[in-house]
Symmetry: none
Subunit: 388 residues, 4 copies
């Protein structure tokens, strides 16, 4: 359905900080604009709700241009103005991490339901406070956990539902790719990622993700061992100026999960990819194994497991890629961000379950903090239960 229905029920959404790469592409264009174009979200049988967003940004030119490009007619540089509007029900925040907490507080005070990017704050305590404030004020709340809806991970979930793996023994993950330094080939990530003083660093970025991926897919994270590194020490920023990298650009992390699964997860912006995809999870179980990329999953069941012989004197006679089978498309997968947006809108309108709240967001930050603590102390660190 590609029509816009003038009589359709609308829901006002304040979108703050969506001029960045992720905010624009994933949240605005591929989620909200896409939901508007499809005629909204069917929150209950026959009832459709259409997003009615107002864009908020600090740079007047940029926000105007973004409004033009996205076909959204409402925009402002004044967050207060947006918060005062009674027709705006949801406050969404995709600003840089440091600006998020005060804006969310203001939005809660204004009675808005809260949805925000991860990490929801720069430390666990603040993140917990935000959650408690929402509970006190009775506003609904959620945090982006997009990777749960990656087609590759949904396929893994399907395999687990059918006991494909038997008992899962271990998970090996590799995330990352080469981020150019910017001195010759332009960099493909923003420079703040590489500065600690701007809340950069791959540990804080990725461990927030790993927490909900592991908790929801394989088992609750019990403890973490993590080593960070700043492999590339100088880069060139967006303006062509060199700068010193103060944040970690690689994280070598290990996790122990409830149920005894061991997890090894390397994240790096300084690696060249020789694997199926930018993120791969290799799961070994007693009955079978699978390797998931962003969309594709390859499986090898017990009966397809080769029995190789160690003989370096001859070329390897086994092609180890051939013993795996690609999972076909058994379902249609929507954009991961859009799926979660639809669930949150439904949650706000109908009160349907939405387990990915700010408490869950705080857990992600907690894992990142414990990872940094492990790095500093050079030992395993347990993850205590967060008291809401």
């Amino acid at each position: 359905m590609n029509m816009r229905d003038n009589k359709a029920e609308k829901i006002g959404i304040i979108m703050n900080g969506v001029t960045g790469r992720m905010g624009t592409n994933q949240h605005l264009m591929r989620s909200i604009v896409s939901i508007i174009q499809q005629g909204g979200v069917e929150v209950s049988p026959g009832r459709r709700v259409v997003p009615d967003p107002i864009l908020v940004g600090r740079n007047a030119d940029k926000i105007k241009e973004l409004a033009y490009r996205s076909g959204i007619d409402k925009y402002t540089t004044e967050l207060e103005y947006a918060l005062e509007r009674k027709d705006m029900k949801i406050y969404f925040d995709a600003q840089t991490t440091g600006r998020r907490a005060p804006s969310i507080c203001a939005a809660v005070e204004a009675g808005k339901d809260i949805y925000c990017e991860k990490p929801c704050a720069t430390d666990t305590r603040t993140a917990l406070d935000l959650y408690r404030l929402c509970v006190d004020k009775g506003v609904k709340n959620g945090v982006v956990q997009d990777k749960l809806w990656l087609p590759g991970l949904l396929k893994i979930k399907r395999l687990m539902e059918r006991q494909f793996f038997g008992r899962i023994l271990s998970v090996r993950g590799e995330f990352g790719y080469w981020v150019f330094e910017g001195d010759s080939v332009p960099a493909q990530r923003p420079s703040w990622n590489y500065r600690k003083e701007d809340d950069g660093g791959i540990i804080i970025d990725m461990l927030c993700h790993w927490r909900y991926v592991l908790d929801h897919l394989f088992g609750k994270v019990k403890s973490v061992s993590c080593v960070g590194a700043t492999h590339i020490q100088e880069r060139v920023d967006e303006s062509g100026a060199g700068y010193k990298c103060t944040a970690d650009d690689a994280a070598y992390a290990q996790f122990e999960l409830e149920g005894g699964i061991f997890v090894n997860l390397n994240s790096s912006w300084c690696t060249r990819v020789r694997r199926d995809d930018l993120l791969t999870l290799h799961i070994d179980g007693t009955h079978g194994s699978a390797v998931a990329g962003l969309r594709e999953v390859y499986t090898q069941a017990y009966g397809n497991t080769p029995k190789p012989v160690w003989n370096p004197d001859i070329p390897q006679p086994v092609n180890f890629y051939e013993g795996w089978s690609r999972m076909p498309e058994q379902e249609h997968f929507e954009n991961a961000f859009k799926v979660q947006w639809e669930l949150f809108i439904q949650h706000v309108v109908t009160g349907s379950p939405f387990p990915w709240d700010l408490l869950e967001g705080a857990k992600g930050i907690q894992l990142a903090e414990k990872g940094l603590e492990s790095w500093a102390r050079r030992c395993w660190v347990d993850i205590p239960e967060l008291q809401p």
Copy 2:
């Protein structure tokens, strides 16, 4: 020249414990027999020395059959008899680890030069004592470090000699494959590997290797963090009887090297292989990366590094395997065990350098012990310099 010259100079070698898989295939058939067939080792210009082995084994039938198969005419079940022979210059030991130290001691006392499989003892102290004994008695000594002569690792060395990597940032290694439990498909490894009481376990097995590979190729090992696991708890042995696995069958290890290189090395007998080979080392450097298997190496230089975009909404447009180039055969590579045998024989006859002595062997055991300590204490453990 494939002729056997009766007047050639000979060197007697006591080969103890070569009825096992590795001993028979690698040390006897592909090394000693092959060296005999090629007319010996040219230890200096124009001087060739031909091995003249006597096989020693506890099982009379087995050793007789092996002598027949290999075309060796001398064999015995009595080690003492062999040690008493004056024409036997070298003692080689490939028995199970627990039997090694006493046999080596006896051989040293008999004035033999010592060459042995790794681990040379079950603990660092014993290994060091063996080394000191050899030094005291003035006998030459060496330990097998075959992986140094794997074609894949030699190619990596060539790349390093030409500064292909720029500054090396990190090394990720994956070793292993699925070892069948023996209940349906027969197991492809001996059952003692899975029993601690028989000196089994993958940590002791593999960390001995990683020590010399890392020390000689990338930089001295400064510290280790290691977690073991016994993923499969019951197996079926050679006789068809079930047994409880008491040793670790997976080792998730991390190392810090002098020079700042970070290493992540997973070893597992409980994983299904989706990579180029049974052992792969992925090396990332500022100027280029390489992935080494046992024989083949694939490289990706800076200029060939793709610049991928994270977009899970479409099938991955980049084939990440295509951006890598296979290294061609620029040299001929002999069997790794044979190469080291030839170097040891030359060392014994001419005194040429042979840096892979029992002290180096002790270092491997030390790393394994420190890895086990790290696992027990759940923290990083530093590796002190061994005092010879």
Copy 3:
């Protein structure tokens, strides 16, 4: 943003002689029209300048039709009329070489900034005089050096920035393709190219290019050895009439560069192409080699260099194309002519650096003249520094 903003700042450009193939396709359609459609050039943060061209041509019908096709509303057959317009800031010349100098002189006298195709004159002295005139009158000036922005050559520059080649030893270039004689298959180049009396000839055409490519990419040209040939002696012109070819249609040139790099560059309109592209540069260095086409570059690093054996008795076992890796797209590349146009417009408006001035253009003509001298004298000729 693809909108045309009526209030945008404009810059008048007289485009003289763009009815020819290159002028129409590259300068008008793919550069100026494309820049207008994208909303102009951002000459400084937030400031956009939009070209406002007037087309000048001698044939009234042709120029009118071109204006219609390109959507440009201003055109004339009177250069003087265009030069008198105060709103026209830039004079661009793509006429045949012989007409260029007098028109440029008139434009300089009218105070216009000058941009022109290469060769900017028919001889070095005239070209130098044009440059000096511009300097005297204080007008900005530039000459087209499009090949510097070919994606293939930009990729070579990236490789050099990362020291991929080690020390560069030699460059082998092949330019050309078969230009049909026109007697059966119609010719794909204009007939004046093959007549000396019309300033034709491949030496004057291509050595102008090679000068700036070599100077800016590999090292200043120190000396030249060049042999020309008129391989095809009769052709058929645009009207179907046969004519005698008086200009060279192939140039076999060698260059020595500062720094010791040797260059062999063959240009020919009488060759059939068995290589990657119409222009290929093969660069050999101590650490690696690359072959650049117009867009694609293939690399072979030291570690990927095959070690072939000369054995003509068997089919060549090495596929010499397989040992090379295609460079991926690490950057987006615009049309080379458009990139230089944008830089020139920015230079005119803001005074930003533009090193490709008429003095550089004169150097190209100088190299062509020295090439012709080398051919006549059958010896190497040194290239003296041009005194501006």
Copy 4:
């Protein structure tokens, strides 16, 4: 016919200096041994002559081992002994160049017919003197010109016999590959090649070949322009010791032939191969073009010639390799060295024509000398007719 006939007519051949790579592989194993195994040469209908060689070498061990390997029963370290044998009719010389002339003189004095490797002497005067001596003494003589019987060049000859090319316009040749320096990967050529004091250098090596290839295939060489280079200045020799390279390792040569054909021939031991073979000749003619490798030839006739368009804004739409057709095997080609050996034996026995005599050999050295002169004088040098 693989039998050895005891009653067959035999011809004694003194083979001096065949312990080197080329001597052993090409002249001994693939030529003489192969001719013996096939039952000799049929010099006239029904008359077969079988080579009966004696090997001569300075190193007793090496020559003994070579005799063993090749199954030849006669060998000696005394050339005089061999020359005194009346049953030895032919003297063949494959020693290093400097030793050749005195040995040949001795052989002529002993009345032997002479066959030798190229270059037959270190300078033209000596080479001419050798030729004159043979004429004076009435002995037959010949020089190796193997490339004339390369399958690839024989196919080019076939194309020319059928006027495939129309009028030939130009020939572009590329010879060479990367010769490893020996510091990491072992070198694949002998170190004397890189020392002028040992008669090394690629100009003297290759221009000897180009002379007879050009003279016999395309037209007599009228003049030469040549530039040499020592691209790699230090290498490591067979014993592992570094040495300074004093000879040229690349030659960039141009030739003018009778009939107006222009030839550009690059020879280099410092290039990485991106072409069909180690030697390629690209011949362009008015009616068609061909590219010859050692064995394969690809052709493109007029009607298959593509008409490409210069547009660097899009990926090259033409695959320039696809427009060429591989020539099929219309004939069986023997080893080039063996073919010439059979012709020389026939010449000695029956007096059949053998135009590749020592005068022709002298011409090759002449061209190399003129090439070196051109390099020194930085100009084209004419090639005068050699007076026999």
